[in-house]
Amino acid sequence: MTDGDGAITGTDIAPASRSGGTIRRRRRGTLERFTRAVFGNRGAAAGFVLVVVLGTVALFAPWIAPFDSDQMGAGGRLIPPDATHWFGTDEFGRDMFSRVVYGARLTIQVGVIAVGISLTVGLLLGLVGGYAGGLLEKLLMRSVDVLFSFTETLIALAAVAVLGPSLTNAMIAVGIAAIPFYARVAYSVTLVERNRPYFQAAYAAGAGHLRLLFRHLLPNIIPPMIVVATLGVSAAVLAAAGLSFLGLGAQPPSPEWGSMLSAGRDYFKQAPWIMLYPGLAIMLTVLAFNLLGDGIREALDPRQRKT
């Protein structure tokens, strides 16, 4: 699920030039690189615009949507797209455009919560594993490897089977499922950073564990993790929509895109628009984060830039 080509490893995306300077100056450099990454690459710029549009739609949903998302009989049943109902209406006469607009809010929630879980836990596991070394490292990383070989779909299904079907549980399940992937990336980046002169110097100067972990390692691990998290949003949105489509996530009448597709299945012969727009919305969202993530990755990785 996470990042299609699975080619991210720590060394792949570790920022190339790290020539000393104070932390503040380096941070500004990173921000500059991000801005250049986003606006210097057509794909990434398109992704960024799409993400902004999605955010705006979600934020202003009540003003953008002409009807309430759950309002039955806002129009007749199964009306094809027209001037009043841009995306047509569903089997209960609810306005599809309004439902898709409100669905953006749920999708953003999925992205933030699921990625929040995998990023926080995965980052901590990888960071501590890479820093600690010895038995703790072996124990942590072996467990992560075992989890990784289960595949995310299986972990997510198991989590939903335990927690029971609901959108919140689906978000948690998707978040848990991706932890091994985030932990692996964080771990490999930490291993690289641990051997750099700045870290060795801080260590030799007698910095404590917490200072080494959070003041020295963490700021340098965050940029590559941002790439992983951006691509991770698209994976999380896809996975959660899949669970909702299977009926294991959001439940009707929630305007979640996956569950709208699932509900519209019985009517798609008469009313194909019911399955067109929610699917398109999922695809554009996933596409947006994929483009943005790819763009940032290219900007951070000089080896990719030349191709």
């Binding site: 939903v160 294991l248 699917g279």
Partner: protein, 307 residues
């Protein structure tokens, strides 16, 4: 080689061992009383009957004892009985597993065939409109949810054109699900193939081969393709795992009678013995297949074989 083999098989055994622990403890992670939840949908179960079930599942024993009991049964090929219908779980799963493997396998073939040729062409015509077009198609493919593509294919080829039946389990029913699963994953392979081939095209041995006047076809297919294949073949094991995960969703779109479809029904019915059996079997299948593919890879790449 032998050492690698032993290490690989050892880690597989560890993975499966951890799976058995996780699976046998799964039922205790369920919030609330699992037995009551399992039987919530069947009416007229008395408290005595529930108590009986609890005893027969061994839920009244200490955890370690439960695990030992579970393993004794599993090693004898007994994965328990379903809650609904009291059928042996292993028989149910084994009856449907070939369908899932057939689906995932045919999808993998489609994905590899399309993905590698598109990636190869894109790399060869790097920077041209062909490259741009193919890579745009690939990122759209990566961003498309399986279930949505499945619905669209169903709509056009089964409902509109009526080339294929809407649901069923004959070989002609395999076409649409396999294409659905294959096409989305082909996009991933295409992106990977492209970057791998671009790396190869830039290398000295290709320049040498060209400089000494070898025919273009020889350079492309015998020198470049062979070298470029190595990282792609490594990915195929992982791809198969994705396919197995994706099959769960796709089976549900097309009503293909595999283990994935059964697992989703089991989650709905809270049929924990069946869910546990499914997770265990899925893990065993995925681990076994990735070992086999790893061995093929080792055999293909002499650098690893003689390490």
């Amino acid at each position: 080689m032998t050492q690698y083999l032993i290490r690989r098989i050892f880690s597989a055994i560890v993975t499966i061992f951890v799976t058995t622990i996780a699976v046998s403890m799964l039922i205790h992670l369920v919030p609330g009383d699992p037995v009551q939840i399992m039987y919530a949908q069947s009416q007229g179960t008395t408290p005595e009957q529930l108590e009986e079930v609890r005893r027969s599942l061994g839920l009244d024993r200490p955890l370690v004892e439960q695990y030992v009991m579970y393993m004794e049964r599993v090693l004898q090929g007994d994965l328990g009985h379903t809650i609904r219908g009291e059928q042996p779980v292993l028989d149910l799963l084994l009856a449907r597993l070939p369908n899932t493997l057939l689906l995932a396998g045919s999808a993998l073939l489609i994905a590899v065939a399309i993905g590698m040729s598109f990636g190869f062409i894109a790399a060869y015509r790097r920077g041209s409109w062909v490259d741009t077009g193919l890579m745009t198609a690939a990122i759209l493919g990566v961003s498309m949810p399986h279930f949505w593509l499945g619905l669209i294919l169903l709509f056009f080829f089964a409902v509109q054109l009526q080339w294929f039946p809407v649901a069923g389990n004959d070989l002609e029913n395999l076409v649409l699900p396999a294409v659905t699963l294959g096409v989305t994953n082909a996009a991933i392979i295409a992106r990977l193939t492209r970057s791998s081939m671009i790396d190869v095209f830039d290398q000295d041995f290709i320049r040498t081969a060209r400089a000494k006047g070898l025919p273009r076809a020889t350079v492309l297919y015998q020198h470049a393709l062979r070298a470029g294949l190595v990282p792609i073949v490594t990915m195929i094991g992982l791809q198969f795992t994705y396919m197995m995960g994706g099959a769960i969703v796709v089976e549900n779109v097309f009503g293909w009678n595999g283990v994935g479809r059964m697992a989703i029904q089991a989650i709905f019915q809270r049929d924990y013995p069946l869910i546990q059996g499914f997770i265990l079997m899925f893990a065993v299948v995925v681990v076994t297949i990735s070992i086999i593919l790893d061995l093929i890879y080792v055999w293909l790449d002499p650098r690893i074989r003689y390490d």
